[in-house]
Symmetry: C2
Subunit: 615 residues, 2 copies
């Protein structure tokens, strides 16, 4: 339903009757979204003859001499004031504008054609603007007559316009079936083309990354945003229709998921700087104090030798003791500040050690162990020092947890979920996918269709190792051995070359996976699984959680995690424990799979990687 | 569609045909969700005679003597091992169990009835358990025979069970139409009732707050979670169907929204402790160093006096200089560490000053100014020292932004949104609302219906002040004057007493609202609006944003916000500016409005307020 399926409803309508639906106005302003014109199956032809209000940003604009046969409407007062004579002149003569640009001078009446007695007689021209309002990938051509306003004001890319006019069939055969003959210009938000950083027609994704606040105005970025939007809605739809409850897990937690990798602590990150500073500071202080102690000792020796009065000696001795104590204190603190971490937090805002959640899954288990099937969809955090093009500090994840469910149930659910996303993105975003296909990755649609069409291959980790061992043609970097971590290279070989479709690898060696996964009877493997897709790599990680109190307590102890910190987590096993399984899907990875984008920073509105400069 | 409307589909089916749909099994395990039995219009009667697998947690359990006429099935081996003789005895004799409890002794054969030659001959009993799996508010009664396992293992509240059996019509007229006669117990997750903190039948919401990881097992908390889930889905549905694009805004930002209130900084919170520690440390060091300098000076004087060799004097002088430098350095740092804040961040994880976003709206404007209608739905943060029962450090918000839209458009959209939420919660969560009505707030359903049924009143702030001024009966704490902030008391008076329905108050005094709101021609007011609901108070805050570059630049300057920090924000006005408006809705406030809960900590899965102790 909704935005995307407006399109399919229209298509539906077309197939059923030759009558086209009427203009669909945006509910919260009088304007018509371009999607409801250009996204129609008839490309908007059915709306020709309608008077419409549209808004958008200029993608490109040309000025041309007014066609001879066009009807001239009576000149209306320009909506924008403060226009100089030269601006009017320049706006009405494209060739003159070009010359002026070259000369970088403005307003040169000597160059203007004809006489300049009184106000310049305008040479009629029209602007052909391709505008876009972000509602779809297509631009609408709008035609503005020069009598309305100096066209120079609206021609630069990035200019915003709100215009009213008549929708007409395009006279010259072109890309689009309809165009808008503007009758009223209601708003112009101008752009100084010399200053606007996105003036150029083609700009790389890498260049655009430097302008996160402006880049959604460029088609590839807007298209990714719409695809991401559609995938997000489909994700909610999948879980809603399968009876899951959406739960919002905390971002700020007192559970340090160190067991999973590095975390962003409220303090652990920023304190590093402080630690360093302090260490330098203390080292310097210590140096001075040690010298002072040495001198004090010498002085005492001197006092003793010189048989000074006892009082002086006593003072000197007390002084020395004080210095010694301080030195001891500083020395004690030198190697590490870790012991103090606990107490430092007593003064932070929350009165305890807090972190940004990197795995919401542990918290989600609480809700699974009461509402039975739950999911989280929101931001998660990590502080890995990975390549910034592959890893974000802040990313959106879908975390799923099912009670009364074993490994296979979670695998089935994850597989269904990915297939559902493939079907729905093909249905809801055909035009954006077409754009990605043309501009980013010519294999993207084929890849989505393939994932959506047949069940995934399923192999155990042990089987995967066997296959890799047998391989003779392809040489892997590391020796293949049971127990090793499968690298991207291995996974890619299995999914791209061997199976040529998504694969589920399950039953991993215990030590390669997190502590909370269920230990198999062989005591060597755990009930974990990953889903690997061709090209995209690992899309899903999941598994069955350890529900047995003794086993999970042992794991927590072995890792030295601090039983009191995980006491609440163990409670779930102490009281009414159930078998439960789940999985985690990274939204950015799905966007990469769908669009073919190689850099994760292009999949999220405001990327946050280590050292990135966002706004 | 989906989970909630499964119910309405069933109802629909019932109305159309007398045939009831078949058992609806949960797709990712063989069990049947209780909702698809007890949520049916016929209360599950149509499923009587079906063999079902259900799972859940025991809400309450009773043991009774087995009815005489019941068919005795052949004893099966118990699924759970390690059961002592006394446990079996105790499980089979309720009276004995009570006595045992009083004596707090276990296994006292002398008290057991009958002879104990060989294994004890069991006195047949049955357990009547009310179990719940979180899928709906209703509990299913399951009946377990004592030959299957010692009933003491499954009777305590909180025990998890996975059982298979036959669904039967309830023989004794009671709350529910059907019950499950268990044939197989597949899993038991036991509970030590003496240790389980939620053993008591009735527990206050305040008590439950101490157990955020276990409390969703209690009906009120689970009910709130389902209501929250339903509201979240409806929110997405509303924006999707109106053509909005869901955008995920950053949590970690470099934009310190200090202009809005306090923010959670990555460093600003935790560094405080360090600052204090350092100050103490440095003060101590400085003391020692100053003494050292004094001594060095004395020594130099002595050396000079004693005409020592030049070399010794030079060394002593260098030594003194070093100590002086360090002292100077320490002194310089003493009064404040604020100057260093900037440089400290250069070594933090992101290489710059970072904050947790408190208002995502500024970022959202970037996407509105390119995709035209966008919304964010996710966590936001604040560090206000407000009452913890009314304010969370971490809360979920819906932020909406519309381009080419003025104040009225945003007001219309917000009003429609709230009305939509009311309609859909009534449709999708009838049983949970019924529970809230009975247990929390007997006016909640009436309130929701009222909001959903008629347009909101609309008054300007100036009109609101006039009304308050004219009021003679009610005495307000503060004197009513134009320019004052409307307090909860004023707002409540207007919505509850004067209008008796939700009101939109708009055009607020400039100084009472954020800097980015559009200044009206009177230069005194801004295009802001709030929506106030009876009982709940302020649900929405919004307004039209200042799109004029000069005006917004002036506001940024006046507030001393640092133009370079807001440069990106000003860019939106520099290049292709458009009129745009938006609003913000707190999900927790909506949950409070819907459920009638008074404490915000009960509306969110894991509340995070200042000094709260969550897990």
């Amino acid at each position: 339903m909704g935005s995307e399926s407006t399109l399919s409803t229209v298509n539906e309508g077309l197939r059923q009757t030759p009558l086209m639906p009427a203009v669909e106005r945006f509910k919260y302003s009088n304007r018509v979204l371009l999607r409801s014109i250009l996204g129609r199956a008839d490309g908007g032809i059915g709306l020709a003859g309608e008077k419409l209000l549209v808004g958008g940003w200029v993608k490109s604009g040309d000025e041309k001499k007014k066609p001879e046969n066009s009807v001239t409407l009576p000149p209306a007062p320009p909506v924008v004031k403060d226009v100089t004579c030269s601006e009017i002149l320049i706006s009405r003569l494209p060739i003159l504008r070009s010359i002026m640009k070259i000369l970088t001078g403005v307003g040169c009446p000597a160059l203007s054609p004809g006489k300049l007695d009184g106000p310049a007689k305008p040479v009629p021209t029209v602007a052909y603007l391709r505008i876009n309002d972000g509602s779809c990938v297509f631009n609408l051509q709008v035609i503005v007559d020069s009598y309305m306003l100096p066209l120079s004001q609206i021609l630069p890319a990035g200019t915003s316009v709100l215009v009213e006019g008549m929708l007409e069939r395009t006279k010259v055969a072109g890309k689009h079936a309809v165009e808008l003959k503007v009758e009223k210009v209601l708003h112009v938000g101008s752009v100084d083309a010399n200053k606007y950083p996105l003036s150029k027609r083609t700009l790389s994704m890498a260049f655009l990354r430097a302008y996160p606040h402006l880049r959604p105005r460029r088609t590839p970025v807007a298209s990714v945003a719409r695809i991401r939007n559609s995938l997000s809605h489909s994700a909610h739809q999948f879980f809603l229709s399968n009876g899951f409850v959406n739960v919002h897990m905390p971002i700020i937690t007192t559970t340090n998921s160190r067991a999973h990798g590095k975390v962003l602590g409220f303090a652990s990150t920023s304190n590093k700087a402080y630690d360093n500073l302090r260490n330098v500071q203390e080292a310097k202080s210590l140096e001075v104090i040690r010298t002072a102690i040495k001198e004090k000792n010498e002085r005492i020796e001197e006092l003793k030798r010189s048989n000074s009065n006892k009082e002086s000696l006593l003072i000197a001795l007390q002084d020395l003791q004080k210095a010694n104590e301080l030195a001891l204190q500083l020395e004690h603190q030198q190697p590490s500040t870790s012991r103090k971490t606990k107490e430092d937090f007593s003064e932070n805002f929350f009165g305890e050690e807090t972190y940004l959640s990197s795995y919401v899954q542990l918290h989600l288990e609480c809700y699974a162990c009461s509402l039975s099937c739950v999911y989280y969809f929101g931001p998660t955090f990590q502080a890995e020092d990975a390549l910034s093009s592959k890893s974000l500090a802040e990313s959106w994840k879908i975390e799923v947890e099912l009670a009364f469910a074993e490994l296979e149930d979670a695998m089935n659910c994850a597989e269904d979920f990915l297939m559902y996303l493939c079907h729905s993105i093909l249905e809801h975003c055909p035009h954006d996918l077409q754009f990605m296909y043309k501009r980013i990755d010519s294999k993207c649609i084929e890849r989505i269709k393939s994932m959506g069409s047949s069940p995934f291959a399923r192999i155990t980790y042990t089987e995967a190792i066997e296959i890799l061992k047998k391989e003779t043609v392809k040489k892997f970097e590391d020796k293949i051995e049971w127990g090793m971590n499968l690298s991207r290279e291995h996974e890619s070989f299995l999914a791209d070359a061997v199976y040529q479709r998504p694969i589920i690898i399950y039953d991993y060696p215990k030590d390669s996976k997190p502590f909370y996964l269920r230990i198999r009877d062989d005591a060597k493997t755990v009930s974990a699984f990953d889903i690997i897709a061709p090209k995209a790599g690992r899309l899903v990680q999941g598994g069955q959680k350890e529900e047995r109190l003794e086993k999970i307590t042992e794991s927590v102890r072995k890792l030295g995690l601090g039983e009191e910190d995980y006491d609440w987590y163990l409670d779930l096993r102490r009281y009414g424990t159930v078998k439960h399984s789940g999985f985690s899907v990274g939204l950015e990875e799905i966007v990469m799979f769908v669009t073919g984008l190689d850099d994760i920073r292009d999949t999220i509105p405001f990327p946050r990687t280590r050292g990135s400069t966002d706004t």
